[in-house]
Amino acid sequence: MSSLLTRAESRAAVLGGVIAIAAISVAIAVPVTALLWRGTTGEAPDLGFDSYLLRVTRFTLLQAVLSTLLSVALAIPLARALARRPSFPGRVWLLRLFAVPLGLPPLVAALGLLTIWGRQGAVNDLLTGLTGGEPFSIYGLSGILLAHVFFNLPLTARLLLLGLERLPQEYWKNAAILGLGQWTTFRHVEWPAMLQPALAAASLVFMLCITSFTLVLVLGGGPAATTLEVAVYQALRFDFDPSRAVFLAVIQIALTIAALALLRLTGGRDDVSELMVTGQARPDVHGRAAGLVDMTVILVAALFVLSPLLATLVAGLSADLPRLLTEAALWRAGLTSLGVALCAALLSLLLALLLIRARLQMPGLGAQRTKHGLDALAGAAGSLVLMVPPIVLGAGWFLLFRGARGSILLPLILIIIINAMMALPFVMRVLEGAYRTAMSRNGQLALALGVTGLSRIRRIDLPALARPLGAAFAFAMALSLGDLGAIALFGNDRLVTLPYLLLQKMGSYRTADAAGMALILATLCIGLMMLADRSVSRQRSGTQKNPQKNKGRMP
């Protein structure tokens, strides 16, 4: 393989990669070291590995396992129903709707879910109206599970659907001709196709649930239903018990590493964007009763995902938005949020670009060994970010700077770093493929024309990457805008972001204000997500002018 960079460019790329790796290592290693150092040299925790730690750890695992099982178990019939109904009206919109929770701030989702499922929610009204019984409460394990299923069921269903739609069209035709029937088709065709994506999705969901903070904070309700992350936060901000926070954080890291290993083992990949707009024709599907069952499954899932979003919209619109929009506190929080998100997204993009450029620079400088070493290091830097969840990262920095209460700049910077780290794996995923394509397309031409160095970056590489960069940027911003973890640790009277302000309003029972703010925050994040989605899909349709002949694809 010949080099697609000049020698000087290669050297610059390697240097950039080294700087990025160093920066990421510092951002993660320093707080983790602070945690460990504190854990070993600080006053010995009088509690040790007591019943509290045990209970929190057990609950963390329990809710993650149950959330995962529920999400995957429910996604199987849903994905199957969606695959069997490739062309009902609104299918495209439904699949788009299923991508929304991915970018929705957890706090907004929690509020929406409470509006539907809470004590004064629509479901409770209906049930008490019908049975005259007592309203049920979703706070605790049931609320956490509900929220985790809301976030992960659509994601899992899309992954499974992708597995089904990867099957060749002839399989369905064969199933039809051989008269396999629903059960045999499920056992011998659909299930084998869903098994691998189901395992991958399960480890992904487990990973997300074991590090879930906001949903547990809002919906957990009390010490009985607390996870490690929430316990770390409470130990630091309410109980002023650093040694307990350290213990909890270390356990959390161990759990995350185990989950990450599981994810690697199952070949976890979440390329949900590949999903086709219309599914494959299914000549093996017939019968009115089966159709009714499929459409019922789809309708229930659609309602489940749509209702909290609609509730957010309705409640938000009925809030006094004009007054809310004149509140100085809202504007201050909004500007802070945007500023933090902007910086975090930029930092994340910069680090990702440096890492990717170093990773993809072809051999040409030094020995092959150097390159492989760097490649492995860059990959490890990506994993490192996943190993240390934002709250733990924040806890380390928090201990190091004793709460960072003195200034306003320091916590701001820490929040930006944490948010940037949080977004890095996603940004890397969006950019790496695009960069690879752009390099293989333009690399040799640029070398041949002698366009090198900065002018090459400016005139060739960046324009070719404009769309994926935009997408990654928008996604990173949405993630940072919706994040409550870092600000929950470092926020104070002077440092308030939108989610933090929203939490304060919820805490002081300013329900209408909270609803209005939730709508504003949701609009911002979903708008950014749609922007990201659009620029990615436009790029895809622009670059792949190679429509395959889909013989079996019928309108």
Partner: protein, 263 residues
């Protein structure tokens, strides 16, 4: 070659399409045809002319907007594919990749795979018939392309359905292998007594396999007749253009890339 001729009016009709119509996007299809029992018919035409659509209609993957489809005298228009009495072999993916060859054939005999001793014998016999004895426990991925098509033919043989539909089944196998496969297919057809419809774009394949040709263009059968002399016809401009013989009266059935008037 085959003993099938176009003078078969006295034989039973295996397949009949009466005024079958279908609107697919902007293109409209209209088919009328009748094929006698035991005949082998090649379906030819430029890409987009509706060859696969015709097979999909007969198989029941598509439902006609109007008209009747009769297989052995029974109107199958409302029957699901499995109950129409047919087997089908595609160019690829005829076998479920994660199931071994015997299971793939077994699914064709009993969808619930509760196979009787007789059915197991049938599977062995079918494998032997196509020269794949001992391949029953192998996965499709470990077989060559030709062997996989043999296995697909073995399933058709084991199922013994009156109608056999082939959608470019021997494409990409190379001329020698394709000729062997056609010979095997014809033997199986004789053993089973099936009527065969085969989509192909290779006149040589058509001449080897079929006694009759349907030539399609823009969703209609614009020419049909006995295979002998069919490719020498000069009265159908689309046919000449398809064969690449419109300008020079070269040898018939000359293999040239077909022009495609439709995208």
């Amino acid at each position: 070659m085959t003993a099938v001729s176009s003078a078969t009016s006295d034989r039973a009709v295996a397949l009949q399409l009466e005024g079958v119509q279908l609107q697919l996007g902007t293109s409209s299809m209209h088919f009328d045809l009748s094929r006698p029992t035991g005949s082998v018919t090649a379906i030819m035409g430029p890409s987009g002319s509706g060859k696969s659509t015709l097979l999909n209609l007969i198989a029941g993957f598509l439902t006609a907007d109007a008209g009747r489809i009769l297989i052995e005298g029974i109107d199958v228009g409302h029957l699901p594919p499995a109950r129409r009495g047919l087997s089908m072999v595609f160019q690829d993916n005829n076998l479920f990749a994660h199931l071994d060859i015997a299971t793939n054939i077994g699914l064709g005999l009993d969808p619930h795979l509760k196979l009787t001793a007789d059915q197991k014998k049938t599977i062995e016999a079918a494998l032997e018939r196509v020269g794949l004895q001992g391949f029953g426990r192998r996965l499709p991925g470990t077989l060559s392309g030709g062997e996989r098509q043999r296995a697909a033919l073995a399933r058709a043989f084991a199922r013994r359905q009156p109608l056999l539909l082939l959608d470019e089944p021997f494409d990409g196998l190379g001329p020698g292998l394709a000729a062997d496969m056609i010979a095997l297919m014809l033997e199986i057809r004789r053993d089973v007594g099936a009527t065969v419809l085969m989509v192909t774009h290779d006149p040589d394949e058509a001449k080897m396999a079929a006694g009759h040709v349907l030539f399609l263009s823009k969703g209609r059968i614009i020419a049909e007749g006995a295979i002998d002399g069919f490719f020498e016809r000069r009265d159908v401009p689309e046919l000449a253009r398809y064969l690449g013989t419109d300008s020079s009266p070269a040898t018939a059935a000359q293999k040239r890339p077909p022009t495609s008037p439709l995208p």
